[in-house]
């Protein structure tokens, strides 16, 4: 029971990281139909940002606190650069975009190897996050996993509120729903695209910071997660965040409990089979945007 609960919460925190990654993908994929394979490297950028900051800021707690906004900006800026330099020239050419961003992903991985070396590096976790929270019944929750969960939920809440209540959020939703109409309504769609890319990539940077609390930092750390994150977006349904939230946690828990009950590879197989079966049943994903005009 105790072990199973531990696995369950591990799954939830994996889900939280997946969610941070998938939110960014859901934004860029939903708005621009761009499959950005380099999104995983923005995670890596966020993680290495934490590592670099810890070289100069010795307090682990302070460096983590500084790393969150800095990683967001670093990864976000990389996203904007990618959008401006490459992706915006390839809109409406999804296959080309996929190949180009995959190429960028490989280049960024090599760049990380050249700068930081191929072996993984590690950051020190702040003392506050190394302990456990004891729950009644002998159950425990690791502080770092609790922190990651809180971080992801805060990001979801902030993003949801921003999309719903701010002028920029309205513009983003308008561009997602009808790009041409948004343009002729006076919205500078290219600028909205760039901002979306900044926010989406920045969220991947946050995921990178979160991941430094769970394990080592390496050049290929993003690649392993990007596929899962894409699965979250596809299964969750495109064009809104609700589906991604549910599916991210479901996937995390399924993965972690599956891993506990069987082995890592078998757990992956179980997850993939479940997704294939689900998409047979609902090819459009968990939630879809439906309206009278489209019915």
């Amino acid at each position: 029971m105790t072990v199973l609960f531990g696995q369950l919460f591990t799954g939830i925190s994996i889900g939280a990281v997946l969610l941070l990654i998938a939110l960014g993908l859901a934004l860029t994929f939903g708005q621009m139909n761009v499959i950005n394979m380099a999104h995983g490297e923005f995670i890596m950028a966020g993680a290495y940002t934490t590592y670099v900051l810890q070289q100069s800021i010795t307090g682990a707690g302070l460096s983590l606190a500084v790393a969150l906004p800095v990683a967001f900006v670093v990864a976000g800026t990389m996203g904007v650069l990618l959008e401006v330099l490459l992706i915006r020239r390839l809109y409406a050419r999804p296959l080309d975009t996929l190949l180009v961003t995959w190429g960028v992903s490989l280049m960024l991985q090599q760049l990380a190897r050249d700068v930081f070396g191929s072996p993984n590096v590690q950051t020190r976790a702040p003392e506050l996050l190394t302990g456990n929270v004891a729950l009644p019944g002998g159950l425990t929750i690791a502080n770092n996993r609790l922190f990651i969960l809180a971080l992801a939920l805060a990001a979801v809440a902030a993003l949801t509120l921003a999309l719903r209540l701010t002028p920029l959020g309205r513009r983003i939703r308008a561009v997602v729903q009808n790009r041409d109409l948004a343009a002729v309504s006076g919205i500078a769609t290219a600028r909205v695209d760039r901002t979306t890319f900044f926010v989406g990539s920045g969220l991947a940077g946050l995921a990178g910071v979160a991941l430094t609390l769970l394990g080592p930092i390496g050049p290929t750390m993003g690649t392993n997660l990007i596929i899962d994150a894409f699965l979250v977006v596809v299964v969750g349904g495109i064009g809104q965040l609700k589906g991604s939230v549910i599916v991210a946690f479901a996937l995390g828990v399924l993965q972690a409990t599956g891993e506990y009950l069987t082995t890592l590879s078998v757990a992956k197989v179980i997850v993939f089979v479940a997704i294939v079966a689900f998409l047979q049943w609902r090819p459009q994903g968990l939630f879809t945007l439906r309206t009278r005009s489209l019915a």
Binding site: R171, Q177, L181, V184, S185, R292
Partner: protein, 230 residues
């Protein structure tokens, strides 16, 4: 006001417009008439900036805007209501208007103005636009375009596919708008009678060319019908 000169445009290999010349007089109404597939909507997409012409120019008040993006044209006083009662379906009616009004200093006044023009929208403001009827969505679409206080309004078949009871209402509003001073309209219409009643100039478009044009008014209807029948 708006002048198109020798506009050629199309989608990929299929060419739709073959050298269209057209002028919307300042303060006036120009109508574009023609059968389905003649290129009427394509013409408006070029004028609005959604489609770049392969040749020819678009001028607004004598200034070349051929390379200006759609949102820049809106900033210069153009507004466009595309075909098919388009709106942002998952935003509320209020948000559909708010979106365009955001960042404008005259936001409150402009919003109140368009709601006075279409009072039927007031009770629907909190409803998602995708749940409105076709007629309601079209009123919202026109209101959305007017909130930027344009000097030129381009309407693509504003009454197509709308229940007859609302058609009269929308036509009346358009007539009201055309009477305002300092306001021009480029109207694409299937209803010849209505179009010619409000238009000072008409242009008949056939297979991407203007094949006949003349002054509007009810007496023009026979000429236009003859031109279209051929």
């Amino acid at each position: 006001m708006l002048t198109l000169r020798g506009v050629h445009a199309g989608y990929g290999r299929s060419r739709v417009l073959h050298g269209v010349d057209l002028a919307v007089p300042p303060d006036g109404v120009a109508a574009v008439l023609g059968h389905n597939g003649a290129g009427k909507s394509t013409l408006l997409r070029v004028a609005a900036g959604l489609l770049r012409p392969s040749a020819g120019t678009v001028e607004l008040d004598g200034e070349d805007v051929t390379r200006a993006g759609p949102h820049e044209r809106v900033a210069r006083g153009m507004a466009y209501v595309p075909q098919g009662q388009q709106c942002f379906p998952h935003l509320t009616a209020a948000e559909n208007l708010r979106l365009v009004a955001d960042g404008r200093r005259d936001r409150a006044v402009a919003t109140a103005e368009v709601l006075d023009l279409f009072p039927a929208l007031r009770p629907l403001l909190r409803r998602r636009a995708g749940l409105l009827s076709g007629g309601q969505r079209q009123q919202l679409a026109i209101a959305r375009a007017l909130i930027t206080r344009p000097r030129l309004l381009m309407l693509d078949e504003p009454t197509e596919g709308i229940q007859p009871s609302v058609v009269a209402e929308i036509q009346e509003r358009i007539v009201e708008l055309t009477r305002q001073s300092g306001f021009s309209v480029l109207l694409v219409e299937q209803h010849l009678g209505f179009a010619l009643r409000v238009a000072e100039r008409y242009h008949v478009l056939e297979s991407g060319r203007v094949t006949s044009q003349g002054d509007g008014g009810v007496t023009a209807e026979r000429d236009v019908r003859a031109a279209l029948a051929v």
